[in-house]
């Protein structure tokens, strides 16, 4: 009985706080999000509350709330899922902050301005366990991975489970001249003993234990492995695909919340906000390429000089995601 009373009291407090002045609710999957939220709150005085989850549950929450959205802005890596939210009319269109974008930033800005890119990593780089594949024998290109010397040594994630992997697959398809050529490339990879694991975590574990020698994973995860002093080195096969971290604003939010969300985006893209992002998660997400003129990535990040990258157009590849992932699961995984 006592517990029921307590539970009811908790409910009442929760309800009354829910009815108070609008606060900005941030749904985010970024490693540095808590630091950014704290700094933003301190700088602006706007009460900001965070829901931090990995991309899968985060997007599921947003979609399940469609009828009655509870979030002010949503922030994660991967343009395709953001595109899908935009196409469902969930994101505020037509606004971008006035900032000095660099070339990478300009390449990532969506034409309908339905979300704002604020960082970039690479969707798939090669992380090589040098105990299995000696550094001087490491692969350099996508074609290299088909060589017999790497048979059974290459691993990657399943795009239909791991969020950042679809941009990698789409990027490889694009780089191999389109869907047909790209699918053939993956079939050749499979014939060369490609291992497909569900997520980054499993793939990296297999890499560290030596079960595989080469993992194709997101660049920030690879840099994290280097920083943890795992015996690995990175290679950037030509071309690698950009994976933008973006923010979308709730189209249905009240004007007050929209104004607060815009301020949040402006803060994130300010020198102060970028400083927090670059230092908030040094072992992981902080290892990104800034999209603003004059800003440098953290010291651990490989300089862009010599890396050939491409951007993967979400308006082209986004709508094909379901079909390509199903093909991948049924043809490459099994």
């Amino acid at each position: 009985m006592k517990s029921l009373t307590l539970l009811a009291l908790t409910a009442l407090t929760a309800l009354s706080s829910a009815l108070a002045a609008p606060t900005l609710v941030v749904y985010s999957a970024q490693g540095y999000d808590q630091d950014v939220v704290d700094a933003f709150q301190k700088a602006t005085g706007i009460e900001t509350k965070l829901v931090d989850l990995s991309t899968g549950p985060l997007v599921a929450k947003v979609e399940a709330e469609k009828q009655n959205p509870q979030w002010g802005l949503v922030w994660f890596d991967g343009a395709e899922a953001m595109r899908s939210l935009a196409d469902q009319g969930l994101l505020l269109k037509g606004w971008t902050p006035q900032v000095n974008w660099n070339a990478m930033g300009k390449a990532l800005l969506p034409t309908d301005k339905s979300y704002i890119p604020v960082s970039a990593t690479f969707a798939g780089v090669l992380v090589v366990n040098t105990k299995v594949v000696p550094a001087d024998k490491a692969p350099r290109s996508w074609r290299d991975l088909l060589k017999p010397e790497y048979k059974g040594l290459v691993g990657m994630n399943n795009p239909s489970i791991s969020g950042p992997t679809y941009p990698l697959v789409a990027g490889v398809l694009q780089a191999q001249g389109g869907e047909a050529g790209g699918k053939k490339y993956f079939e050749q990879l499979k014939a060369n003993g490609l291992h497909v694991f569900d997520t980054n975590g499993v793939t990296l574990k297999a890499l560290y234990s030596g079960a595989i020698g080469i993992a194709i994973v997101q660049s920030s995860a690879g840099i994290g492995a280097v920083l943890k002093k795992e015996p690995v080195q990175l290679a950037y096969p030509e071309p690698v695909s950009l994976l933008p971290g973006s923010i979308g604003i709730n189209a249905k939010a009240s004007p007050e919340v929209v104004a607060a969300a815009k301020k949040f985006v402006e803060f994130v893209l300010s020198p102060e906000g970028q400083k927090v992002m670059l230092s908030g998660d040094t072992g992981g997400d902080s290892n990104y390429y800034p999209l603003l003129e004059g800003l440098k990535p953290s010291a651990a990040v490989t300089p862009l000089i010599g890396i050939k990258y491409q951007s993967v157009d979400p308006t082209v590849w986004g709508s094909r995601e379901g079909e390509i992932n199903t093909w991948f699961t049924n043809t490459i995984v099994r």
């Binding site: 908790t10 309800l15 399940a64 499993v202 995601e321």
Partner: protein, 581 residues
């Protein structure tokens, strides 16, 4: 005459009171089930055929999701789940039968040891078991690094056999707890009677098996449902060895882009249908078993088998092996990993150290989530237990309502927590019920998740608490409150304590509802733990898990010790003990 008439009249108000109490009890149980389980689950499950509900993009009525759920990867996961549920159910029941025979029917003094191990195993999340075995047996794992290349073991654990084995081992406690009390209901007289009638050897074993059949069926149904609903093993061992299971394909449909709520709902229906098979089979067995019904209550103790030297050796060896497989090996592998500095540097002394634990100690921001989760777990477990007690007493009545309730409870046991959590969003993110995003709703989801298994655990002790005991006491002039204080509570105190501890410790680590329902800015422990190992730092994540499990097991042990000391001696009764002892 006058006295007789008062005596005759006395039961009437008692009966009315009792009727009122029963109606009140029944309607409380019903309301709880409806609000906490049925409404959110049905909200979610309807999406399978009405994909446009709750503002989703589908339209009208459609069976397309079922076609998807019975095709390709999804179909493979249905077949795998069925095969693995059946085999792990059979294995767990076989082992539970054997271990309970050892503790209940032989002179082997392992009762305390086995009970301790059973509770430890119940408290251990299934993914920890799976990860322990994975760390050990995978290619390049600990065994390989120690120079042992046992291809057969690696092959077994990177396929369906490993998945079934881990699921079976994890669920032995359910089988054990369901079967152990039944050994006692088959009292000594029965054996003597059988002997008098010249029934011996194979025939006697057959009779025994028939008498045990209801318990075996109940155990199998629970293990089958639990194995079907398990997500920890499916997401670790199953996923890394390409053995897709139904819960994992539901997870994929919900969490992978493009997400597909109708497919997840259709797969959930299939999961429910599979669990339904188990419920149906159990009901059939029970109907047949009615012919063999024996009333216990005052049965004499059966004679215990005196094990010889050889028998003892076999028993100890098999128990040791079981303990090794179920607890020691996964625990050692996990602890070992938590001491490893750099995973890629493998097995050597220089690579072991306390580094990960030092990092854990620096994670001061986990204290808030731990307190929040601990508080919520306490409240939710208490609520779950009160409701479970109500449900269990309805269940033990054997009425039609009870049978319906049994189906609902076993069904929810079979659905992964993820489905219930997603259902809570659809059901309670409504203008007329704006509870989504509050601690209250998270607590409700926790209580709802714990309720089905708690009521199953309490069902055994409650069934044994024959109502004739209460009636006898009242005839002897004990008041209603007195019955509660002197009979019901003493007999139920220990099972209630254990069920509460189990529910609370499960809730502290609960992930899917925590993720989908937590109030913004107020992360529960499971969410905070995930966040602090954001960057695939496996050594750190296992260290965190070891610390968290140690804290919870320590707290459980402490609460148990304190409560046991406070309880009067005659209230202290172990969960699987008969009151006829």
């Amino acid at each position: 005459m006058a006295r007789a008439s008062t005596l005759h009249r006395r039961p009437a108000p008692m009966g009315a009171g009792r009727l009122l109490a029963r109606v009140a009890l029944g309607s409380t149980g019903l309301a709880a089930i409806l609000l906490l389980l049925v409404y959110p689950l049905v909200s979610f499950l309807l999406l399978a055929v009405f994909p446009g509900l709750f503002g989703q993009s589908g339209q009208g009525f459609s069976l397309a999701a079922f076609a998807q759920a019975l095709d390709g990867y999804a179909l493979q996961s249905v077949l795998n789940s069925l095969a693995i549920g059946l085999s792990s159910g059979a294995l767990a029941v076989g082992l539970g039968l054997y271990v309970s025979w050892l503790t209940q029917r032989t002179t082997l003094s392992v009762r305390r040891l086995v009970d301790g191990a059973v509770w430890l195993l119940l408290l251990t999340p299934s993914y920890l078991l799976a990860i322990g075995w994975l760390v050990l047996t995978q290619h390049g794992g600990l065994l390989n690094q120690a120079g042992l290349h046992w291809g057969w073991l690696e092959a077994a654990f990177s396929g369906p056999i490993g998945v079934a084995l881990v699921l079976a081992v994890k669920h032995i406690p359910f089988a054990y707890l369901a079967i152990a009390p039944s050994w006692n209901t088959i009292g000594g007289e029965l054996e003597e009677a059988a002997q008098v009638h010249g029934i011996r050897g194979g025939q006697a074993t057959l009779l025994l098996a028939k008498l045990l059949l209801p318990a075996i069926a109940a155990a199998f149904a629970v293990v089958f449902a639990e194995a079907l609903s398990d997500f920890g093993v499916a997401a670790t061992l199953g996923a890394s060895s390409n053995v897709p299971l139904l819960t994992y394909s539901i997870y994929r449909a919900l969490y992978a882009n493009p997400l597909n709520f109708p497919l997840a709902a259709a797969s959930s229906w299939i999961l429910l249908a599979l669990a339904g098979i188990a419920v149906w089979a159990q009901a059939r067995v029970n109907r047949r078993a009615a012919a063999y019904a024996v009333l216990s209550g005052r049965g004499r103790l059966a004679r215990r088998v005196v094990l010889g030297g050889y028998g003892k050796a076999v028993a100890w060896f098999s128990l040791g092996l079981l303990g090794l497989v179920a607890l020691a090996i996964p625990a050692l592998a996990t602890v070992f990993m938590s001491f490893t500095k750099v995973l890629g540097d493998g097995l050597n002394w220089a690579n072991l150290g306390l580094d990960n634990y030092q990092t854990v100690l620096r994670q001061g921001d986990l204290l808030g989530p731990l307190t929040y989760s601990g508080m919520l777990a306490g409240l939710a477990a208490t609520t779950a237990l009160v409701l479970a007690l109500v449900l269990a007493s309805v269940l033990s009545s054997g009425s039609r309502l009870a049978r319906g309730l049994d189906v609902v409870l076993l069904g929810t046991l079979a659905l992964p927590g993820l489905v219930l959590a997603a259902g809570y969003i659809f059901a309670y993110n409504q203008p007329f019920l704006p509870l989504y995003g509050t601690s209250l709703l998270l607590g409700m989801a926790y209580a709802a998740g714990a309720m089905p298994s708690s009521s199953r655990i309490l069902l055994g002790p409650l069934t044994q608490l024959h109502h004739s005991l209460g009636e006898a006491a009242r005839v002897h002039g004990v008041s209603g409150l007195g019955v509660l204080r002197r009979i019901t509570l003493p007999l139920l105190a220990q099972p209630l304590l254990y069920a509460w501890l189990l529910a609370a410790s499960g809730i502290v680590f609960e992930l899917p509802a925590s993720e989908l329902l937590y109030p913004p800015g107020q992360p529960p422990l499971a969410v905070a733990l995930l966040k602090s190992v954001h960057n695939f730092d496996f050594g750190l994540s296992t260290a965190l898990e070891v610390v968290a499990v140690a804290i919870v097991v320590g707290t459980v042990w402490l609460i148990r010790a304190v409560v046991t000391r406070l309880l009067p001696p005659n209230w202290q009764r172990r969960l699987n003990e008969q009151h006829s002892h």
